[in-house]
Symmetry: D2
Subunit: 337 residues, 4 copies
């Protein structure tokens, strides 16, 4: 951590910062840059109320030197983490392709799409039973009965299940049914929920908030990892920008960058990242080409009649075409799907 | 709701949309614009799975016509809502100035600052007992003992208490101590929490998410209002933009805009909105000049040693100066503080 | 164009809008939605001072129905535009890979890198002679002598030249040397410059502004096209967002979206879009997988000593590896490089 | 300037950076932080191709220590710059209120509004003769005849003129007519134009780009100042964010922050910053309360029939009310209007 003093800082100001750092257990080294003094602090600065240094008299700003995440860092584990979801491995050579409807609707529709996804070659089945929605007047999911339908679909197809959990008190119930706990983008910084899924020991799919930085995503993963739960998959699903033609802007840079920063697998959600069914296939190819370890795609047998997100859902037939594309691109980058 | 068809939409496409709308209980009226057909839909479109219309063949896009919030709307209540917090009224002629430390730290410090804030003329006391923090390694608040210290400070000064609640299961406990439940920006779309505070019937201070739109803020308020809890204060606390000189960008436009859209009172948080103690006073003046009904300001007796957010906290002395400014500006716009 | 009236608009307000539209040569059709009247306007609304309708009494807002760009639209030309740069075709089956240093520095370095890029398989040579720089204290390019060095490099290697033009009065000079006129991101809305390159008839590489929407990019292309110059390549080079780990955020969604909206070829700049040499290769693969017609990559024989943008430049050896990747991904999507 | 090395940097890497810095005329001091070496560089780093250091082997990143702007800095001139526009002073005790139509339209309208603005108490008259427009199909201004009408309005009222210049070759012509050269937001980084207005010696109103940082604004001012032209007024006119209810988001934080960073006067444009006539008055009060030295407001005698930006223009009557508000708030903060 570096404390950059203002050009007009007095010797007393500098001395005070050094003594204050000392009282926090940190050793200080001074350097003079141009007309400013920079104080380097050594020791474990994490967890200390060091924000305060930024407010000391004569201080211009405080600059961190090391990444604030530890367990998620490549430094903590040089090789990749492979998350095991039943017999499917995420983060190895194979690209995981998770697919299914936004919401679980009826039994017929879910089983129908599950069978078709299995036939097309999907790796896992997704579907929402509990839906966080911006408006209280929107459809909020069918709840526990949706979890039971997902289990029935798994029994029928063998596809492991991914479903969202939206409150800490739901975690035990959802764990009894699902194979992967999904944390939605609005809950990326719901720390009570992160702690609960951390304690569960279940595989977690952690979606990046639409307003969250890559560093914040890794710090949220850190909450889960700090409970000893290493089964974490990160999901880039598009960020909010000024562009309004698309629902979100897929941060494709984040894919190779996360592969450098962390050992955790990276999944891309092309459906939310674009908000347009007509862009999903091209963006899926891009994600795999950039190094993603998997995709999570909204597929609905009849998008026109979907109860949510129909505009960004593709059909099972289109999903077959997407998988063909993904297989070709995966082969071109030394992976398989 | 308007359904704009693509220029190449066929008569069958248009017919299908009209029949589909009919099956949803909506009446359709067609207009032809330039080379496109626009279908106006009448009936109550709220709560229906109308997303699906956006995915129908030949549809270019769907445009809402009315605001999606109802209870928060000026249409629902032409006059202003005045929230009563014990004997303090928020949303009337008087500007409410809520002040206090980011976190409750020790008993001595809290009582010290509470007494000084009372003397300076603050309206309520704020202080965090439970702190949502980006990193699991940061200070997370002192918990329930912090609530008890806040009560002691209220008993001593008469200042009503504002404190944050971060999980639905905490709501009953926090309600037993506080006068206002604060929902932090990361929890603006934690719908389980919104439902819980809605049911509590307690006054709520709802902070806008740092990347949430004004419409999303009003829809989150709608979750609380839909439980019959009308004691909601909205809080603009800065949004995330590309500018990095300041921690956030105060959306000052939101203040008069919210006054037009909703009957709920608007509070501004100049501390988080700037992230720099040196800007808090000027921005507080601006907020009051723009029509805000109150301020929530971080004040710490010794910002250099604060356990969190010291860099944006002002001292009780500086707070006195801020209040002087606010009183002058309030008088200039026909209010008082 | 739709004029949405406020719920409280009077019959006189509506009548006034209809008459005002009539005076602008537009025909009006009324629809009543829920409790609001919507007025559809027919006729050629482009070029008229129709902003004014938004300010009429009782008007809530005005919504355009058709895209504001015409010549750049797929409607104007269903098939793709193929831009011919000497004997290289951009927008056809082959992926164009433009490479070279950010700035032209010395003769030795430029000829050295040009020869190595030619050997690796680059399609064209890029290099800046005039450099727009945020700070007046930064290196601003070597000017006209840089243009002459580029010509020498083309004579030596046969690679066509791409170089930036930064002011209308430079256009004739730069045209005498270069094969493609590049418009930098800061100049995307420098309309005097767009008019000048439009009149030149030369192939143009138009970079999207870091703050510009896709629609604004297409409208800037429209300025060039309106002069009868159809030789326009669009370039996505990253947009400015809240994320600071990377210099910009590549808007990968824009690639397939632009392919749907326009017939013009799309080039991606992975160097500026990431600002990190270590991400350029992965992002280049993603761009080609998403459907880009070309890449423009900063390559420098010795990035450590580059006079600008060294941190995002790759070496000629790394460029060889990038081209290998690009060839494999191109083949996987039915293209070649 | 600080060079932060990666944890795995070798001694040879560090040694190379030190020698490379030496060859650039910089002295290096080493500090070891936690497990990373930080190299402080002393000497004049401005104008050197130091970007290259960021690309050296083992370097994690380079952090600047001092602000990159010099002449615009408070360090360069501790007191405020007061810009003299004929007999009006901007940057002193009085708030400058510049008002007028977006575009100069007809002689009658311009003279009419000028007389009414003079009567209401405006300080200067604004009006665009050359209009940069996103679409080539939009009204582009009436050109030179507009300049002549502005002169006539000045002769009639005594109000100094502010008008935009959009190309370097127009500068001499516009200088012959106007009192202040306005640089629009799209041209904030049109460096050829900045150089031209710098050489002109005329007062300049420099608008911040809608996605430009405060630092970039100050660096653009630096281009003008570096020509010896110190008559520069900065203008905050709203930035582009994710919020779409308003046309832009006024960065009110920028007002007190710029007052701290620079000696140049700060003007706020509430019309573009909101894009809604109904918000202009409240936001004008906020700007003055925050410490702005002036306002620039779009006023049109008949906004419904304005040829551009009618939706954000207020009437002369509303302008009178705005000025009343501004005078009261100015008095509350020790200024006058």
């Amino acid at each position: 951590m570096l404390v950059v003093m203002r050009p007009d800082a007095s010797a007393a100001d500098i001395d005070y910062v050094v003594r204050r750092a000392g009282s926090l257990g940190l050793k200080a080294h001074l350097t003079r840059q141009h007309d400013q003094t920079v104080i380097g602090l050594m020791g474990d600065v994490r967890g200390l109320p060091v924000d305060a240094l930024a407010g000391l008299h004569g201080v211009d700003r405080v600059q961190p030197v090391t990444h604030p995440f530890r367990l998620a860092s490549r430094d903590a584990r040089p090789g990749p983490t492979v998350v095991a979801v039943r017999d499917r491995m995420v983060g190895g050579e194979a690209i995981a392709v998770i697919a299914g409807p936004c919401s679980v609707e009826t039994r017929e529709r879910l089983l129908d799409v599950a069978v078709r996804l299995k036939a097309a070659g999907a790796t896992m089945l997704r579907g929402g039973a509990y839906k966080p929605r911006t408006s209280p007047y929107s459809f909020q999911g069918i709840g526990e009965s949706g979890l039971e339908l997902l289990v029935e679909a798994r029994d029928l197809t063998g596809l492991p299940i991914v479903t969202e959990v939206i409150a800490p008190e739901h975690v035990p119930l959802v764990c009894r049914h699902t194979d992967v706990l999904q944390i939605g983008q609005r809950n990326m910084q719901n720390f009570a929920l992160l702690n609960a899924v951390g304690e569960s020991g279940m595989p977690v799919l952690l979606k990046r908030g639409m307003m969250s930085t890559i560093e914040e995503l890794l710090l949220s993963a850190e909450y889960v990892l700090a409970h000893g739960n290493e089964q974490v998959m990160l999901c880039e699903r598009g960020i909010r920008t000024f562009e309004t033609y698309t629902r979100n802007t897929l941060d494709i840079n984040a894919v190779p960058l996360l592969k450098q920063l962390t050992h955790l697998p990276i999944i891309v959600d092309p459906s939310h990242a674009t908000g347009k069914a007509g862009l999903v296939r091209a963006v899926s190819r891009a994600a795999v080409a950039a190094g993603a370890d998997g995709l999570i795609v909204e597929v609905h047998p009849d998008p026109d009649h979907a109860w949510s997100d129909g505009f960004q859902s593709i059909t099972p037939e289109e999903f077959g075409g997407l998988l063909d594309d993904v297989r070709r691109v995966a082969a071109a980058v030394g992976r398989r799907a």
